[in-house]
Structures are given as structure tokens and as C-alpha cells.
């Protein structure tokens, strides 16, 4: 009755909003609007995904969209202002054809799936007691598909390494420091974000949450720290960064190899200690994801700057 109709209206509104924003984002002539609208899409998308019973994805999207992507895109926008490539875009026909083809192919692929049975939820539920956690998504990430997660941590690390090859980090932020109000805001928000990240990590075993959400939240806290930093620079703690950023890969490799001695298979957690091992692996992954994402926002290898008052002076 009422609730169903309202839910349907909400779904349609959310979906239509996302699509309208998506198109607005790519057709607007204003580069800033492109960035601003994209940040808006992330926020609406987070709400939309909660409607699709994916609160854990919504958590990750909220932290990434509101905290990290926004900062990254805005920084890139500010630095490339005035040096746009080429003349204003006038092409219509080719892109439209491509878009229509893409959508037609995707639609044709999806259409048969409308009435089909859903995937593996039942299978996962049946084997959940072999994993040491009781939340299916976390079980998939660190147990059934642990190899994927390991490789994904490697991708993160590779992205960071590649970014560092581009040279020393230049100040991301050129505007001057805010007054006391913003500092007070950070003083309150920062510890709350850290607590929230810890809660997400811990909850991951039983309910939506886990290493990705916690890592993205912590990284957003890192962005806040960067924002109150007067110079817009990060200290050159090269070894600490390296260790933290590679902690996830190291933990997965180390623990994964270690359990081979017991279970005979790489990354196959022994049932008796699965809960504890998964928690250790997830914590390491959280630290790694947070460090890597925050350093990616910095966008270069942090080095000691000339004229900067550092410890070595």
C-alpha cells in the first residue's frame, strides 16, 4: 500500500536523478560543473545502493565519493584550470552512436536476466560456518575469494608506486589556512571518523562493514588532516608510508603462506582460528587501504621540502 508506492516513487526518483546527473556531467561545458556533479552522483548513488540491499557498498561509496574522489577531482581541476586541451567539444554524432551502441549491447545482455534466479547467496549461506565470520560479503572477500582481495591490494600498491614515480608531491592545496572554526571541526570530526572506521572494521565480521569501508573512512580522515595542514604537504615519513601501504599485501601473503602448513592450501584459513586470522588480515588491509588512498590523494612521493621546518633542521 502506501509504503510500497512511496518506495517505488523513491526508487524512480533516485534512478532518474542519477541518470540526469550522469548526462549533465558529461555534456556540460563547464569543467567545474562536471566535477561538482560527479561528486553529487556519488552521494545519490550511495543512497540508491542502500535501496538495493547493499549498505556495505553504500558505506564505501559514501566515504570514497564524499571524501576522496571529491578531493582528488577538485585538486586536479584547480591545477588544470585555464589549460584545457583543445577547442570546445562539438562532436555529437560519433559519441551518440557509441553511447547508443553501448547501451543497446548492455541492455540486450541484461534483458534475459530480468526473470532469472539470483546468484550464489544460498550457496554462500550454506558454507558460512566454514569461514569464521558470519557476514556473507566479508566471508567472500577474505575467505572464498581471498586471492582476489590480495590481488586488489596489489593493484592499490601498484597505483601508489606508479604515482610516486611521477616525482615529488607538490602542494595539493594553495589556498590559505582556515580560521579556528574549521580547525575545531576537524578536532571533533577526526576522532569520530577514526572510531567509526574501527567500528566498521569490527562489525565487518557480522554485518555490513569491513576493511574497505574502514580503510576508505580512515583515508577520508587523512584528507581532513591534509586540509588543516597549513602547507598542504605531508611529512616525509618514507619508510612508515611504505610499511603501512604494503601491510595488507604482506599480511595476506604471510598469513596465507603460513596457513599452508596447516591446511595445505594457500589462503585457506584453518577453521579453528579462522575468526582471529581473518580479523588480523582485515586490520592489515584496512591500514594498507587507508594509507594508500590517502597518499594517492597527496599525489606524489612525499619528500622533505626546502625551507620547510622539519626535524632535520
Amino acid at each position: 500500500m502506501g509504503i510500497d508506492a512511496a518506495a517505488l516513487l523513491l526508487d524512480v526518483t533516485l534512478a532518474a536523478t542519477v541518470v540526469a546527473l550522469g548526462w549533465r556531467c558529461v555534456i556540460t561545458a563547464d569543467r567545474f560543473e562536471t566535477v561538482a556533479v560527479f561528486i553529487g552522483i556519488s552521494l545519490v548513488m550511495a543512497i540508491a545502493w542502500t535501496r538495493l540491499e547493499a549498505p556495505d557498498l553504500a558505506l564505501a561509496e559514501a566515504a570514497l565519493g564524499a571524501g576522496l574522489n571529491g578531493a582528488l577531482l577538485l585538486a586536479a581541476w584547480a591545477e588544470t584550470r585555464g589549460i584545457e586541451d583543445g577547442p570546445a567539444e562539438r562532436r555529437i554524432a560519433g559519441p551518440a552512436l557509441l553511447a547508443a551502441t553501448t547501451m543497446a549491447v548492455a541492455g540486450a545482455g541484461l534483458a534475459p536476466l530480468v526473470g532469472a534466479e539470483a546468484g550464489l547467496a544460498a550457496e554462500i549461506a550454506a558454507r558460512l560456518d566454514q569461514t569464521g565470520v558470519s557476514y556473507p560479503v566479508t566471508a567472500v572477500l577474505v575467505d572464498f575469494r581471498a586471492l582476489d582481495t590480495l590481488l586488489e591490494l596489489c593493484v592499490l600498491l601498484a597505483a601508489l608506486a606508479a604515482t610516486w614515480q611521477l616525482g615529488a608531491a607538490r602542494p595539493l592545496l594553495r589556498g590559505k589556512l582556515y580560521g579556528p572554526v574549521f580547525v575545531a571541526y576537524v578536532r571533533i570530526a577526526l576522532p569520530l571518523l577514526v572510531v567509526l572506521a574501527a567500528a566498521l572494521l569490527w562489525r565487518g565480521a557480522t554485518s555490513p562493514g569491513g576493511a574497505f569501508q574502514a580503510g576508505a573512512t580512515l583515508a577520508a580522515a587523512g584528507v581532513l588532516l591534509l586540509l588543516v595542514n597549513p602547507a598542504g604537504r605531508v611529512p616525509a615519513l618514507s619508510w612508515a608510508y611504505r610499511i603501512c601501504a604494503s601491510l595488507g599485501v604482506l599480511a595476506f601473503l604471510g598469513l596465507g603462506t603460513g596457513v599452508t602448513a596447516v591446511t595445505g592450501r594457500f589462503l585457506d584459513w584453518p577453521l579453528s582460528h579462522a575468526g582471529a586470522l581473518v580479523l588480523v588480515a582485515e586490520t592489515a588491509a584496512t591500514v594498507a587501504i587507508a594509507t594508500t588512498l590517502a597518499l594517492l590523494v597527496v599525489g606524489g612521493r612525499p619528500v622533505a621540502q626546502r625551507g620547510r621546518v622539519g626535524k632535520r633542521h
Binding site: G179, V181, F182, Y185, A189
Partner: protein
């Protein structure tokens, strides 16, 4: 669904959403940036506050209510901070425009 807290809660939530809509209208209709900012912050605080109060009544769950109050404080905090930052920038811009 008919007990007094539920009805009261639903009314509060409705009032809160009404405030949010009004704030949005204000954001669209008010003439200058400063008054738009004003409309926005009022709607922010009051609208969400009413929603939180109403939902807490409906939920009858202390931890959920506490979380929502914390959340409301967080929104007030970040809303006030953002409005302050934007207002400062607007003032600075006005000054530099006046100086020229």
C-alpha cells in the same frame, strides 16, 4: 502503528521533511548568496533535528536514538563549518570587489 509516540513521531518527521523542502525552495528562490546560505543552514538544523526527534520516538531504541542525535550534531557541526567557510569566502570576495 497508532500509539501516541508513533503518531507524534510521524508528525515530527513530516514537519522535518517540510523544513527540508522549504530550505531547498529557499536555496532556489532567495536573491543573494548570503540569504541562500541562511535558508540552507536553518533548514539543515531544524529539518534534520525534527526528523531525528520523530524517528527516535518511533524507534524506541536508546542506542539508535543516541546514534541519530550524534549524527544530528555531526550535521550541525559540518553544516555550520561549511556555511562559515562559504560565508568567509563570499565576504572576502565582496571586499576585494569593493576595493577595486
Amino acid at each position: 502503528m497508532n500509539s501516541i509516540p508513533d503518531v507524534l513521531g510521524a508528525l515530527l518527521v513530516f514537519a522535518g521533511t517540510a523544513f527540508a523542502v522549504l530550505g531547498t525552495v529557499g536555496l532556489l528562490r532567495f536573491p543573494d548568496p548570503m540569504s541562500r546560505l541562511h535558508a540552507l543552514t536553518k533548514a539543515d538544523g531544524t529539518g534534520l533535528g525534527l526528523c531525528v526527534a520523530g524517528l527516535s520516538l518511533i524507534a524506541r531504541d536508546v542506542s539508535a536514538a543516541m546514534l541519530m542525535i550524534l549524527l544530528w550534531l555531526g550535521v550541525m557541526l559540518s553544516g555550520a563549518t561549511a556555511a562559515h567557510l562559504v560565508a568567509r569566502r563570499l565576504l572576502a570576495r565582496q571586499e576585494s570587489a569593493g576595493g577595486n
